[in-house]
């Protein structure tokens, strides 16, 4: 069915946007938090961590990308199943590994390759199921 196909393509494009923003955001977040160092779980430690994160440019870049992720995420959830979008988004981990090998020439352990294959197989399996199994507001009258 044409509309079913359109729904699937629209969903997958949005999941891709999610994955790109989330990866860029997480990378910046890890970099920013590494600069800040271990957080002490005391009132003053948490307050200091809050001040340092708010003053860090890297953390703000991370927040920019994570906002982009959040926007694409809530948009796709307005029409697609949570149990479809969530596992499909894991494709990002596989993508990150492939990018690390292709562009950074990192060596990847066999265990990690097995993980990449499992993620790809899992995403393919989930991707073939119907993106939406519940009704969406306004759909009943449309």
């Amino acid at each position: 069915m044409a509309s079913e196909r359109r729904l699937r393509i629209k969903t997958l494009v949005m999941v891709l946007a999610m994955v790109v923003c989330a990866n860029a955001g997480d990378l910046m977040l890890k970099r920013g938090m590494s600069h800040i160092g271990a957080v002490q779980l005391t009132a003053s430690g948490l307050a200091q961590a809050f001040r340092l994160t708010a003053a860090s440019g890297t953390i703000w870049i991370a927040i920019f990308f994570l906002t982009g992720f959040m926007l694409s995420y809530i948009t796709v959830l307005s029409w697609a199943d949570y149990s479809y979008v969530m596992p499909a988004g894991a494709f990002g981990y596989a993508l990150l590994t492939l990018l690390a090998v292709l562009f950074l020439h990192e060596s990847v352990s066999p265990r990690r390759w097995v993980g990449v294959v499992l993620i790809c197989a899992g995403v393919l399996l989930v991707g073939q199921t119907k993106p939406r199994t519940t009704t969406v507001a306004g759909e009943a009258v449309a």
Binding site: V39, T53, L71, S78, D81, Y93, A94, L118, V136
Partner: protein
């Protein structure tokens, strides 16, 4: 012990928050078009939904828990452990949101969960 506690906050906060937001977004309905103006109207509609404001603080709590965990433990331990949220989230989707989780979807979720744990473990 503190790591397990923070991990539980991370997993339950993120899945609980995402389920609340999914519920809210389904009530909001999809944007008329994927253009800036239509998206802005869509965001305004979403922000008026109460479930959105239940989900957001839960996700913020989970995010803060992630920051704290990343400062204690290497990412290669934190992300594999948090991969459990794929299974917790799917259970929530089925029993709370009423989504139909077919055998193929379950199989995919389990593969993804194990795969993410392996990739992040390095």
């Amino acid at each position: 012990m503190r790591v397990i506690l923070a991990l539980a906050v991370l997993i339950l906060g993120s899945t609980g928050g995402e389920i609340a937001i999914t519920h809210g977004m389904k009530a909001t309905g999809e944007p008329a078009r994927l253009r800036p103006l239509a998206l802005l109207q869509f965001l305004r509609r979403a922000a008026r939904n109460g479930w959105f404001w239940v989900g957001l603080p839960l996700m913020a709590l989970s995010f803060y828990s992630l920051l704290v965990l990343l400062s204690w433990e290497p990412i290669s331990l934190v992300i594999p452990a948090s991969a459990l949220s794929y299974v917790v989230g799917t259970l929530g989707a089925k029993y709370i949101l009423g989504e139909q989780v077919s055998g193929a979807r379950w199989a995919g979720v389990v593969l993804v969960c194990v795969g993410v744990a392996l990739v992040a473990a390095g």
